[in-house]
């Protein structure tokens, strides 16, 4: 049951780039993301699902670059929320595999995930609204902030990948 739900979420994440621009390279990348993600969801492996989601993100970025469509904040926020749900679900399924679940455990967890995902979605939309409003005003001074954010993102990615590859399975 949890595996099927995780596979559905992987399919939903992969559908974002295909919905944006279903060109050949995007489709290939999305296919690879689907294969890796489904493998991860079937094996209940969080690292594999993370890898699949990362490929899906690259495909989504490629699709956005190719389509040159105007930015849609709700799509980005929805993709982020779907990623949160996917990671939480696979992690929970891996932890509880073969274990007995008491009454209300699944419902309680699902409620928590939905609350966090909705909060993330709302935060992203609110941030985009604020950014749209403040963007023209702070365009000049905010450029260094954007660059610093990009560098921070790159550093976080590298650090996360290194930690992911070197960390032991602690659970």
């Amino acid at each position: 049951m949890t595996r099927a739900a995780a596979v559905l979420l992987v399919a939903a994440v992969v559908a974002f780039p295909l919905a944006a621009f279903p060109a050949a390279p995007v489709t290939w990348l999305a296919g690879a993301a689907l294969v890796v993600g489904v493998l991860g969801a079937s094996a209940l492996s969080v690292p594999l699902v993370t890898a699949g989601a990362s490929i899906a993100l690259v495909a989504h970025a490629l699709a956005l670059v190719l389509t040159r469509a105007p930015a849609d904040p709700s799509v980005g926020a929805a993709l982020g929320a779907a990623l949160v749900l996917l990671l939480a679900l696979v992690h929970f399924a891996a932890r509880t595999h073969g274990a007995a679940l008491g009454p209300g455990v699944v419902a309680g967890q699902a409620r928590q995930w939905l609350v966090v995902a909705l909060a993330g979605f709302a935060s992203a939309v609110a941030l985009s609204v604020v950014a749209t409003w403040l963007g023209p005003v702070l365009f000049g001074p905010s450029l260094p902030i954007v660059i610093v954010t990009g560098v921070l993102g790159a550093v976080l990615t590298a650090a996360g990948l290194i930690a992911l590859l070197t960390s032991r399975q602690s659970e």
Binding site: V46, P47, V49, T50, A53, S54, L57, V58, H60, A61, L64, V65, A71, D72, P73, V75, G76, A77, L79, G80, A81, L83, V84, L87, A88, H91, R95, G98, A99, A100, L101, G102, P103, V105, G108, Q109, Q112, W113, V116, A117, A119, G120, S123, A124, L127, A131, T149, G150, L152, G153, A154, L156, T157, A159, G160, A163, L164, S167, S170, E171
Partner: protein
């Protein structure tokens, strides 16, 4: 107990960083927005307050049971504050299977709420089962933080070898002065008729044998055999072991010893035990239920301890190995030291019966089935039969038992010489 970030944080960070990096690289704001829910989740998953205190009380349904019986461990969890997810895990020792329930479970606890977690275990082999207490892990939201502890509530459960009823027990040659179920060669008060002799002053009239009296024209009386108990010493060979864990020759010998002990104690005999192996342990002969408990407690611990030292049975005190006792040796007869000890006992006049536990079937069961294994097992059986015949020629009384079939069948098929030369007491 404190919160620790879990590996899921790394995954969230990776995806958030990746989204930010791609967003900056492609100059797309909607990619940067992908990172926002992930960062919100990371912030929501952070725990700063100490985790709630979860109290755990556990009860075990029995502290003594026999093999293949069930024991139920009931744990009650109670938290002082809401806990969204608590994980409990009971590590199980080998040869213990979960019959009902799961050894790994997740619960949701509200403040003050009690949750019962029941686990029924089937104990497959003799052992001193130690349930050390479950591991507890509290999970934060989304599984991004965890607090782990272990509630050490060690509880020991003695799993005794299973007992099988026996009908055919080797009869002791010599009996003791106390009343029991064995017909003694000595004459006296009893219900088993013995010889007929002429009447002597002091004889009871009810003992007069009227048929013999009429035939011989003088008063004759019927004598009776006394019913007496006996001393039985179980000599357990723990010098060598073969077979898969839980189904070794020592396990079979221990089961046999426990069964014999229960059967002889049921007949009012005094039963003792000598564990002849790397360590020489013994239980003084005694009778009653307390003695059975002592013997079972000793048998649970019986195991092979490797040694080069040969133990001398002459060093064992007479009160542990009385000369009048029936000695029942349970051994696979694999170690020449035990064979020498058994031959020595027989030569010293002990009433000795060796129950030879065959390792062939146990080793065969532990190996993958193949024609080569079958042929090897048959050859081994033939060789073993020849060895047992050789031991019989040396004066040992041997009962061959494969360790799998009921011991009663092996004892019923065993042939023992008549006990006419027994010493009367």
């Amino acid at each position: 107990v404190s919160w620790r970030p879990t590996a899921l944080n790394v995954s969230c960070l990776t995806l958030a960083g990746w989204a930010l990096f791609l967003g900056v690289l492609t100059a797309r704001a909607d990619l940067i927005l992908v990172a926002v829910p992930l960062i919100v989740a990371l912030v929501a998953g952070r725990r700063t307050a100490p985790p709630a205190t979860v109290q755990l009380a556990r009860q075990v349904s029995a502290d003594r049971l026999f093999e293949e019986q069930r024991v139920t461990a009931t744990s009650t969890l109670r938290a002082d504050a809401d806990v969204s997810l608590v994980e409990v895990f009971e590590p199980l020792p080998p040869r213990v299977e979960v019959e009902a329930g799961r050894a790994h479970a997740f619960f949701r606890l509200r403040a003050g709420q009690e949750v019962r977690w029941e686990l029924t275990l089937r104990c497959g082999g003799r052992q001193r089962l130690r349930l050390g207490g479950p591991h507890l892990r509290l999970w934060g939201p989304l599984g991004l933080a965890a607090a782990e502890t272990r509630r050490r509530q060690p509880q020991a459960v003695a799993v005794y070898p299973r007992l099988v009823p026996l009908r055919h027990l080797p009869r002791p040659v010599r009996t003791q002065p106390y009343v029991g179920n064995h017909v003694s060669p000595a004459q006296g008060e009893g219900i088993e008729p013995g010889d007929i002799r002429p009447f002597a002053p002091g004889d009871h009239v009810r003992h007069v044998n009227w048929r013999a009296t009429l035939r011989l024209n003088t008063l004759h009386v019927t004598q009776h055999h006394r019913e007496r108990n006996a001393d039985v010493v179980l000599l357990l060979d723990t010098l060598s072991e073969m077979g898969a864990p839980g189904a070794t020759v020592v396990d079979a010998a221990v089961r046999g010893a426990a069964t014999l002990a229960a059967a002889y104690l049921g007949r009012k005999d005094r039963v003792g035990l000598i564990e002849y192996g790397g360590q020489l342990r013994w239980v003084r002969p005694g009778s009653g239920r307390a003695q059975l408990q002592r013997l079972l407690d000793t048998l649970v611990e019986a195991s092979v301890v490797f040694t080069y030292v040969t133990r001398d049975l002459e060093l064992i005190p007479r009160r542990i190995l009385p000369p009048q006792a029936l000695v029942l040796a349970l051994s696979p007869l694999l170690d020449p030291r035990f064979v020498r000890a058994a031959v020595d006992l027989a030569a010293r006049g002990f009433d000795l019966v060796v129950i030879a536990v065959s390792p062939v079937e146990m080793v065969r069961a532990a190996m993958p089935a193949s024609p080569v294994v079958d042929v090897a097992a048959r050859l081994w059986t033939l060789e073993r039969r020849a060895q047992l015949d050789e031991h019989r020629r040396r004066g040992l009384t041997i009962v061959d038992w494969d360790g799998v079939a009921p011991l009663d069948a092996a004892l019923a098929a065993a042939h023992r010489p008549r006990l006419r030369l027994a010493l009367a007491r």
